[in-house]
């Protein structure tokens, strides 16, 4: 049936749309959202949109300043580093390591953490406690330290860093999901659904989950900024991603030697890192504010 809009209808927006509308009112949140969207698209397209191969060295253009400098060339938009590699290409290619790998780590942590947390939240008594506190011991160690311990045992490599970060994020997800479900499951609408005779799976996925998505979104943004920082920090220390790979933290570490000669080598990857983490935090924060606002209004 064609949707003929003859009559003026005012539809109240759905809960998710309300959050979106509220977020839209905050220009910083919108800017953060678009920055992040562009960054993710650039990351996905990075093999095709880099102007040069990030590893190819141009002997005729060593330590070329960025193009807005008097000595800069438009060919190398962000300049080149001490080996003559194009910094723009390296930053774009580096987003795979600095944004893509954290995304994958958070995805795995969320998958494992949410399923264990949901299981813990839906069960009761000893089973619930056991599952909830299963990986609590990991929480007592800071994520960076745990990553260092794992690297000390297994040796520095990206896989080990990913493993460490995922492991640290899992118990946080478990706790958040368990607490959220626990708060919801004694509310009356859950009892009402139980009296409808629904299955446990339906109860979890269709009745409770729509009510805890906000908490999940918040935890995911928080975990993402932690993961990005950790991978960059370990790269900076030379323990994570290894040198020729264009990871932002590694690039920062490399630029330390020539920071007075060629400050752009440090500023540009640092700026990329800073803006990414800032926009993730701003986005997470405004989503939380929007959810709080919606809860207050309804």
């Amino acid at each position: 049936m064609p949707n003929t809009n003859i009559y003026f209808q005012q539809r109240e927006p759905s809960p998710l749309r309300q959050i979106w509308l509220h977020m839209n009112a905050n220009p910083f949140a919108v800017a953060a959202f678009y920055f992040l969207a562009v960054a993710i698209v650039m990351m996905l397209l990075s093999p095709w949109i880099t102007p040069f191969n990030p590893d190819s060295q141009f002997a005729d253009a060593i330590l070329q300043p960025p193009s807005w400098d008097d000595q800069g060339e438009i060919r190398y938009l962000f300049g080149t580093d001490d080996l003559g590699r194009d910094i723009l290409s390296r930053i774009i290619a580096g987003s795979v390591y600095s944004l893509g790998y954290p995304l994958v780590a958070v995805l795995f942590a969320a998958l494992i953490g949410v399923s264990i947390g949901a299981w813990a939240g839906m069960s009761r008594g000893v089973q619930s406690s056991t599952l909830n506190h299963l990986l609590d011991v990991i929480l007592s160690i800071p994520s960076l330290l745990l990553a260092l311990v794992i690297i000390a045992i297994l040796g520095p490599s990206l896989v080990n860093v990913m493993f460490a970060i995922t492991l640290v994020l899992i118990p946080q997800f478990i706790h958040v999901v368990h607490n959220a479900i626990y708060d919801e499951r004694y509310k009356e609408y859950v009892t009402a659904s139980r009296l409808n005779g629904v299955t446990r799976w339906y109860m979890l996925t269709r009745v409770i989950f729509p009510n805890i998505t906000s908490v999940l979104v918040m935890q995911t943004t928080f975990a993402l900024s932690t993961a990005i920082l950790d991978i960059a920090a370990l790269g900076f220390l030379g323990l994570g991603v290894q040198a020729p790979a264009p990871e932002w933290g590694t690039m920062l570490a490399r630029s330390l030697d020539q920071v007075y000669l060629s400050p752009w080598m440090m500023v540009l990857p640092g700026l990329a890192l800073f803006l990414t983490i800032l926009s993730i935090n701003v986005l997470g924060d405004s989503i939380r504010a929007a959810i709080a606002e919606r809860v207050r209004n309804s």
Binding site: E12, G197, V198, N211
Partner: protein
Amino acid sequence: MSKLLEVHEVSKYYVHKDGWMPGKPVCALEPVSFSLERGETLAIMGETGSGKSTIAKIIAGAERPSSGDIFLNGQSLTRMSDRQRCRHVRMIFQDSLRSLNPQITVGKQLCEPLIFNTDLNYPQQKERVHQVLSQVGLLPDHYDFYPHMLSSGQQQRVAIARAIVLEPQIVVADEAFVALDPSIRAQIINLILDLQEDMGISFIFVSHSAEIVKHVSDKILIMHRGKMIEFGTTKALINHPEEQLTKTLLHSEHKYKVPLHSTTKE
């Protein structure tokens, strides 16, 4: 065996755990027994904390009794799963907004019992929900509404729609009319009476209001501190109350003048 519902020595104890120590059981409901015929309306009255909500919740299955058993047409209800039980006994909660899922549309929530308890396919479910919505005085358009978009009277109607969508034999209402203003309360009570006439449902409802009880109920059960102190037909309890409390509860309209016609049929 003509009794629809037979409550046999049902009691409820809560145990408040204090750390690791086993706590002391607190009695919410001492063993009570009563029975109800098909199509009858039972009102449960009492002071706050007298265990009247507990009885309602136990009958509806929201809580498990500590002891005793409930029989529906001679079958034990306590041994049934929630799914078997909800085809026969449904509940209307005290706070209708809190008993509706805030993130799901009204229509989907009303479909929920149909998905799990009937063989209807999706268009048939939708058809049935539309039918029930118009039965409780809402529009089919309300299918796509979220609960917070409705007024409290409409939310109450949705709660009633959810209770009757499976065509149960008993509907339990736990102080479902407290939050409503008198005119909407009258509408909703009349709606329930109409539904009772149409579908032959037995109603069990918990209420403070003597007017509603007198107007609607066939039998009254008076609770006091977890004990059933009186049980009988409305007429008998109004005319010949045995306990002082019964008298107080049923003749309380002298204290605050609520116009009696507000609860009568229009």
